[in-house]
Each structure stands twice: as structure tokens, then as C-alpha cells.
């Protein structure tokens, strides 16, 4: 018995009771395109709630924990509506398989896509438990109430636990529109809750991929060609095998795997092997950063496209009282999570078992199956905690290293990347070049906006860019939130000498950087206050097409976030010479309107960020403590990105450690203030939205403090000179 419920305009939700031990509700939430297959007999849930006869509640989901707190916030949502204590809920990490598709943790989507389905399913389960109790007592369900894992009948002072009711409840129909508990009655959602994994982490007992141990396992290190796309031509395996503990050198797709009894011996063997390898470096041999910048200046003709809104931008530019133009540059960036890539695989005849901290278990499963030429159902993926993900661990490359090494070694093998491997063989954040041009009217307000984004890309130069690809490249650029008469935003691509992938904040990083910093230039050219200028241009009723899936930018909510940030940062109070303030705002794919104000100080040729004030409107704040943590982390991520870049010489990435890829340190962490806008709207994401605005606000603050307009990332000391 099941119910198909409208969730949101773009998503659907289906809940089915499943006969198994206790009350089990399978939840299928997803996008409309996925609905068709599952509306027939082929119902495949992607989350499960189980009320066990013991009274314990299990929530099985395919969401990976990488520090964003999803293992804490999802049980809060369930416990709220089910009326159980949050400690009564145990979160079970799902493994992909025929029953479990579309697992994946990226795009700041977990709460956005799961809040309503979980809320609804938990309320349905609660109503079924109440109905089961009411039937047992032959009373009206309305005369009963659910509380703390029990159904009570106050009039007769009877009560039954959920465990006692679970089996009877499972035989009842699933209500099609269960009554949701209103926000005013929330006791968990909206209150600070500490991370469920905290105690294990501080005890050193939290299990990451590298901490998994299996009987008879070996450890491996893989040497890759220093040039992306290159292959080993010849090598002397004996040199590696001469190292104590080394068992095997195997050629695998990504390079040469040195398999040993422990990680250290594998590293030693690899060092002995490396000088003997002759590489075929392939087409990226010899590429340098300077050459690549030239490529960005003359992009591929076919992978290009334009999005427009309002009037004719060229005509508007011609009739403007004044026009400005500028170029902004953003570099390749590496993820560099503290846990280097690591996976353990055990390949047997026709089967494979994998232990990995991955953001994308389905992809790991599919790719492993393809590599081994076995069905996906023969591949089991156990998802551990991730020692940082940031988009990097959506890639299956390091999983396949382990799969291939295990197949060669005929034993369970754990592959451990070195830090240099991590920095030199990442799926990097794309480098970009931005040409922006704007026309101001006689009152200094923008009448025309033209922005061309040239991005490094792995898309073949012969492949035309479709609408979806175009919207992806232009996220954070085409949805410029301001009321401007004519807007034209174009994308073009240049072939990347490096593999690219999602990096926390994705395209919003560079696109919001160019948009919000150039917008600051306009405000200053017009002699206007940058905060007031922005708010004035958001005081229009129309919304702007925002999200890739059509979610509009809500100008009023964005203006409110700006005003709140301005008030909390005391924007109107001037700072002394040598210090500066900057503001930026954006709505992340039309969601989580947010504003940031940064305060910086210049000293002795250097600079520091003193404080970043963020106002975020993420809908219902499920766990404010987690929202503050995500904002702090986002500011740290953005600030790190002002000091790091990946550069190329002779086709090789030049960076190899935290010494030459200097992520933010303890002493340089600014104060971060997070102000959450009170909201009744459904939650939207918080993992990424503060990143791009923090970056742009800091750059604007440095420009204000130094009197020098900064237009490139990373910011170098010489960029600030001449103040």
C-alpha cells in the first residue's frame, strides 16, 4: 500500500509500506524524469524508515558524511515528526545496489532534497502507529497522541510503545497526506545539536577508509605519469621488488601499482621504481601555465553559447552615459582534503567488495563493475566517513586503483595516495578568464551588463555546448541578481591540460567573484555606496531566473540578507586607514540567498582578514550549530583559495605539498559571524553557498583598503602595492 505525494514542483515523493520486521516505509524521492519507472511495479526506494519491534528507529540513507553534519541533521528531521528522541534514531549508511540508486552527496542538496520527503514519511509513520493503537483500544485516533516513542490515550491513561505497535501499524494503509507538525511545535529542528560522530572522533575511533583492516590485506601506492594522460612505456619492476616488503608491481589503468605488506614499504618500493620509468607523456607534454592562459584568450569556437535577458545589450552599451570594462582571472585549484585519496578493495571470482569514503557510491559501484566486467550487483560498496570531500571524492579514480590492484594481487588491497599524488592528480577546479563590460546611465545605475566566461574544460573541442552545459558553465554569472536593462552572459571553453571536477562552490566561485567584484567597480565609479547600490537594484519586484532547474532568485530575500549583514557588520561606521570593508551577495542556483561583509587590514606589505559577517537565508534552519560550522568552513575555504593555485610547467603540476599549496592556517582564520534569517521556507543547502560570496567580499575589502582594484586570484602581495 502506498501513497504518491506531491513534494515540490520539481521533485516527487512516494512512500510505500514494506512487509518486513516492524514498520518499514520505503521512500522514493527524486526528480520527475525518474518517476516513470518507479510508478509501475518497479518501486525502488532511496531512503527507508524502520521502526523495529524493539522500538529502535533506523533511518537508512545514501548520504555520505564528510563533515557537513548530515548524519546529525537527517535524524533530527525524522525524530521531530515521528515523535521520538533523536538518540532513538540510528542512521544506517546505505550501500548502492538494485534497491538503492541515486546515492550521492554533492551540490549542497541533502537537506534540500530530503527535508520534505523525510518529514512527510515520518509523519505518515507516526499516523500509522497512532492508528494501530487506536484500533487496538477501539478509540478514535484523534483522542490519542504520539510522544517520545509511545502512543498515549490520555483519557484512559493507556499507552503502547512504538515497538509494540510496529507490526500492527505495518498492515495499515499509508496516509496520503499526513498532518505535518507545524514549526511552532518543533522541539528538535531549529535547535543547536552537536555532531553525532563527535565522541568517536575525539577518541580516535572514527573509521575512515584508511582505517579499515581486512584479513590478509596488502597496501599499495600507484605511480602516475606526471603529465595528465601520459602512460608508462617501460620500467624496471625488480628495483621495487628489491625493497623489503614489496610483493608486486602491477600495470593498472592509472599507472604502476606497487603492492606491499604495509604502506611504508609500498612508498619505498615506489620511490625505487620511479626513476626507472620511461613515460609516454602524451598530448599535454610541455604545457605551461603561460601557454594555457593564452588558450583561454582564444577559446574553442564550438563549445560556446550565450544567455540573454532584457533588451539589446550592444544598443544599451552604446546609449550608456559611461561604460567600464575589466578582465578577471581565476586559477586551477586543488581540493587537498586532509585525508589523501584512499580505498580498499577485495576482488574475488565474479565479485568485489569496496570500503571507501566516497561522495558517489553508485558511480564507484558502476565503474568497478565495468572495470571487472561483472554485474553491478556483484560489487558491494561500504561507505566510510570521508576525511573531507569537497567534490573530490565524487570521482571514482582512486576506487579503481584499489580494484585493479586487488585483482592483480589476488588479495584485499588498500591504495593510499601520497600528498604529492593528491595535488598533482586531482580533478581540479577549472581555471577561468572573465571579460566584463557594463554601461551606466546618467544616474550611475547599470543599464547594460555583458560578461563572457572562458573556462578550462574537458569537453572535446568538437562537441557543441548544449543548453544544460551552458547553464552549468554560467552558474553564478547568468543569474546576476540585479535589475539591469540588458544582460548578456556568454560562455566559451578552452581545452584543459588537467582533469577537472567539482570543487566546493563549483562555477559560482569564479563567476560570483567576477560578477560581484566588477559590480563593486561600478558602484565606486558611480560614486555610490556598494551596499546601498546593490540593495537599490534588488528593490524590483521581478525575480530573476536562477537555478539550473528553474528556481528563481528571490530579490527581496537577497536584499534582506544584504541589509542584515550590513546592520550586523556596522557597515555605515567608517574604518581607519589601512583597513577596508567589502560586501558581496548571491543566491546559490536560486537558493540560499546570502550576503557577506569582510573586514581586512593591510600591514607591512601583507594583509589579513579580521572578520567576515554572513547573513544566510537557508529556509528552516534545521541545525543552527551546523549552519554556523558550514559558514565558518566556507569562509576558510574561500580565504584559502585567495592564497593557493595550481600551476603547470612542462606539462607537470608544480605543487606537491601544503608548503607550496598553502591552505589557510590557524593563525589566519578570521572571526566569522553567522546570522540566520528566520524563515518558514523549506531548507536549502548550506555546504557551499557562503563560499563564493566570502571570496568576493574579501577581494572587495582588499580593493577598498588598498585603493588597488584586485582582479585576479590568488591575491599576490604585489597586487596590493602602491596603496
Amino acid at each position: 500500500m502506498s501513497a504518491l505525494l506531491p513534494a515540490t514542483r520539481r521533485d516527487f515523493l512516494r512512500i510505500t509500506a514494506i512487509s518486513a520486521g516492524g514498520l518499514v516505509l520505503g521512500i522514493r524521492c527524486g526528480r520527475p524524469g525518474e518517476a516513470q519507472g518507479s510508478q509501475g511495479g518497479d518501486f525502488r526506494p532511496n531512503a527507508w524508515i524502520r521502526v523495529d519491534p524493539s522500538g529502535k528507529v533506523f533511518l537508512t540513507v545514501g548520504k555520505s558524511e564528510m563533515g557537513q553534519g548530515v548524519r546529525t541533521s537527517l535524524p533530527m528531521i525524522l525524530a521531530e515528526q515521528l515523535e521520538v528522541d533523536v538518540e532513538q534514531v540510528e542512521l544506517v549508511q546505505a550501500s548502492p545496489g538494485p534497491d538503492f540508486q541515486d546515492l550521492g552527496t554533492f551540490g549542497s542538496r541533502s537537506l534540500r532534497t530530503m527535508y520534505l520527503p523525510l518529514t512527510t514519511a515520518a509523519a505518515a509513520a507516526r499516523e500509522m502507529l497512532v492508528a494501530a493503537a487506536a484500533a487496538k483500544w477501539s478509540v478514535e485516533p484523534a483522542s490519542c497522541r504520539a510522544e517520545n516513542g509511545r502512543v498515549m490515550h490520555p483519557v484512559s491513561q493507556r499507552s503502547l510503545s512504538y515497538g509494540e505497535l510496529a507490526s500492527a501499524a505495518a498492515r495499515l494503509p499509508v496516509p496520503s497526506s499526513p498532518a505535518l507538525k507545524p514549526k511552532s511545535q518543533f522541539r528538535l529542528v531549529g535547535k543547536d545539536r552537536r555532531r553525532v560522530d563527535g565522541p568517536r572522533i575525539v577518541a580516535g575511533e572514527a573509521v575512515f577508509a584508511g582505517d579499515v583492516r581486512r584479513p590478509g590485506m596488502k597496501f599499495a601506492s600507484v605511480v602516475r605519469c606526471p603529465v595528465t594522460g601520459g602512460k608508462p612505456r617501460s620500467w624496471d619492476a625488480e628495483k621495487a621488488k628489491a625493497v623489503a616488503g614489496v610483493r608486486l608491481v602491477a600495470a593498472i589503468s592509472s599507472g604502476l601499482a606497487v603492492v606491499a605488506d604495509d604502506t611504508w614499504s609500498a612508498f619505498q618500493g615506489r620511490e625505487a621504481l620511479e626513476p626507472t620509468i620511461v613515460w609516454d607523456e602524451g598530448e599535454n607534454a610541455g604545457v605551461s601555465s603561460a601557454e594555457f592562459l593564452a588558450r583561454l584568450s582564444s577559446p574553442n569556437a564550438r563549445t560556446a553559447g550565450t544567455l540573454k535577458r532584457g533588451g539589446d545589450v550592444e544598443a544599451a552599451l552604446r546609449s550608456s552615459a559611461r561604460s567600464l570594462e575589466a578582465e578577471y582571472v581565476y586559477p586551477f585549484q586543488a581540493h587537498a582534503p586532509l585525508e589523501p585519496m584512499c580505498a580498499l578493495a577485495d576482488v574475488g571470482a565474479g565479485r568485489c567488495e569496496i570500503w571507501v569514503g566516497t561522495q558517489h557510491p553508485n558511480r564507484a559501484q558502476d565503474e568497478a563493475a565495468k572495470t571487472l566486467q561483472i554485474p553491478a550487483s556483484a560489487v558491494t560498496v561500504h561507505v566510510t566517513l570521508l576525511g573531507g570531500g569537497f567534490g573530490r571524492k565524487s570521482q571514482p579514480d582512486f576506487v579503481l586503483d584499489a580494484v585493479e590492484a586487488s585483482r592483480a594481487a589476488k588479495a584485499p588491497v588498500q591504495v593510499v595516495w601520497t600528498r604529492a599524488d593528491d595535488l598533482r592528480h586531482d580533478a581540479y577546479h577549472s581555471a577561468t578568464l572573465h571579460r566584463v563590460r557594463a554601461g551606466l546611465d546618467a544616474s550611475g545605475m547599470p543599464a547594460a551588463w555583458k560578461h563572457t566566461v572562458v573556462a578550462a574544460s574537458n569537453r572535446p573541442a568538437s562537441e557543441p555546448m548544449n543548453e544544460e552545459g551552458l547553464r552549468a558553465v554560467l552558474r553564478g554569472a547568468y543569474d546576476v541578481p540585479y535589475a539591469i536593462g540588458a544582460v548578456e552572459v556568454s560562455a566559451a571553453e578552452a581545452s584543459s591540460p588537467l582533469r577537472l571536477g567539482a570543487w566546493r562552490g563549483v562555477q559560482h566561485n569564479h563567476n560570483v567573484f567576477a560578477t560581484e567584484c566588477f559590480f563593486d567597480e561600478l558602484a565606486r565609479a558611480a560614486g555610490k555606496d556598494p551596499l546601498e547600490y546593490r540593495i537599490a537594484l534588488l528593490r524590483k519586484e521581478a525575480s530573476v531566473p536562477g537555478g539550473r532547474d528553474g528556481a528563481p532568485v528571490d530579490r527581496a530575500r537577497l536584499a534582506s540578507a544584504l541589509a542584515l549583514a550590513g546592520e550586523k557588520a556596522r557597515w555605515s561606521v567608517a574604518l581607519p586607514k589601512g583597513r577596508g570593508r567589502g560586501v558581496a551577495c548571491a543566491s546559490y542556483d536560486g537558493r540560499t540567498p546570502a550576503a557577506a561583509i569582510a573586514e581586512v587590514t593591510l600591514d607591512r606589505g601583507g594583509w589579513r582578514v579580521d572578520r567576515v559577517v554572513c547573513a544566510v537565508d537557508c529556509g528552516i534552519a534545521v541545525n543552527p550549530m551546523g549552519i554556523r560550522a558550514q559558514t565558518e568552513g566556507s569562509v576558510a575555504w574561500a580565504l584559502s583559495g585567495l592564497g593557493t593555485e595550481i600551476t603547470l610547467k612542462n606539462g607537470r603540476v608544480e605543487q606537491s605539498s601544503y608548503s607550496d599549496f598553502p591552505i589557510l592556517r590557524f593563525r589566519d582564520m578570521p572571526k566569522v559571524e553567522t546570522h540566520i534569517v528566520a524563515s518558514e521556507a523549506a531548507p536549502s543547502g548550506m555546504g557551499e553557498p557562503p563560499v563564493p560570496i566570502a571570496l568576493a567580499a574579501i577581494v572587495n575589502a582588499l580593493s577598498a583598503a588598498s585603493g588597488r582594484r584586485l582582479r585576479r586570484v590568488p591575491v599576490k602581495p604585489e597586487d596590493l602595492k602602491g596603496a
Partner: protein
């Protein structure tokens, strides 16, 4: 292969490993003590921090053959209840990977300097990296542990 005897968390342990194998890998791969993390292998991130005779060291840089007679303390055995509690109260951890090293570094600081000044905290903690950006909370937790604020043990 030589037999090496080391004293870990008060227990004498014998392992057959090359003398130049870093303590980190002896702990993780030979003794199955995985609380100490591998972050960079170059002594620049602090994820592998352990104590030798109570002082923080980067275990990826310490050849096991050179620590005969020294007391090794890891996250699994360190007496740091005030810090652990403060870490939980401040909800420091995000991904949690660097936190054992952070706690070992902080424990070293408080062992030497029970009431550190802000700049002493800066100096002690500046070489322990966290990519999630938990630094503000690490500072707050160290302060809380030093002041025994709101702790019960």
C-alpha cells in the same frame, strides 16, 4: 628484519620492521592503531601528531628505530579528558580527520602551559592544518579546557 621494541600507551610492543619505518606506519599498519592519521608524510600538516615523552611530534617523521626507551602516546591513550570534553562542547569536528592530531598538539601545549595566552595558542597550533576550517572552534575548545569551563570529570 630487526625486532624493535616500543612503549605505546604504557604497553611494550614488539614489531619486526625496518628501523627507518616511520612510527606512523608502525602504529597504523603493524599495530592496527589507526587513530593517528596520515595527512602529508612530510611533517607539514600535523594529522599524525603523537607524543614522545609527553611532547608532540610528527610521527611520519620519526623513524621507529630512534625512539627506544621513549614513551609513545597516541590519541587512543592520551589522558586529555578536559580537551576531549571541550572539543565536544564546542562541536569542533567537521570531517574529523585532522582532529586526533589537533587534540594531541593541544594536549602537548596544555601539558607545558596549562593557561596559555592567545599567542601561545597561535604558535602551538599554527602548523596543524584543517581543510574544513574548524580553527575558531579549536581555539575556543583549548581555552575552555584550560579554564575547565563547563567541564565535568
Amino acid at each position: 628484519m630487526p625486532r624493535v621494541t616500543i612503549l605505546v600507551n604504557g604497553q611494550s610492543r614488539q614489531v619486526d620492521v625496518p628501523a627507518d619505518m616511520p612510527l606512523l606506519w608502525v602504529l597504523r599498519d603493524r599495530l592496527g592503531m589507526t587513530g593517528t592519521k596520515f595527512g602529508c608524510g612530510m611533517g607539514v600538516c600535523g594529522a599524525c601528531t603523537v607524543h614522545l615523552d609527553g611532547e608532540p611530534f610528527r610521527s611520519c617523521q620519526v623513524p621507529v628505530g630512534e625512539i627506544a626507551g621513549k614513551r609513545v602516546t597516541t590519541i587512543e591513550g592520551v589522558q586529555a579528558e578536559a580537551l576531549r570534553q571541550a572539543w565536544l562542547i564546542e562541536d569542533v569536528a567537521q570531517c574529523g580527520y585532522c582532529q586526533p592530531g589537533q587534540i594531541m598538539q593541544a594536549a602537548g601545549l596544555l601539558g607545558r602551559t596549562p593557561k596559555p595566552e592567545e599567542d601561545e595558542i597561535d604558535v602551538a597550533m599554527n602548523d596543524n592544518l584543517c581543510r574544513c576550517g574548524t580553527y575558531l572552534r579549536i581555539r575556543a575548545a583549548i581555552r575552555r579546557a584550560a579554564e575547565k569551563e563547563g567541564l565535568h570529570y
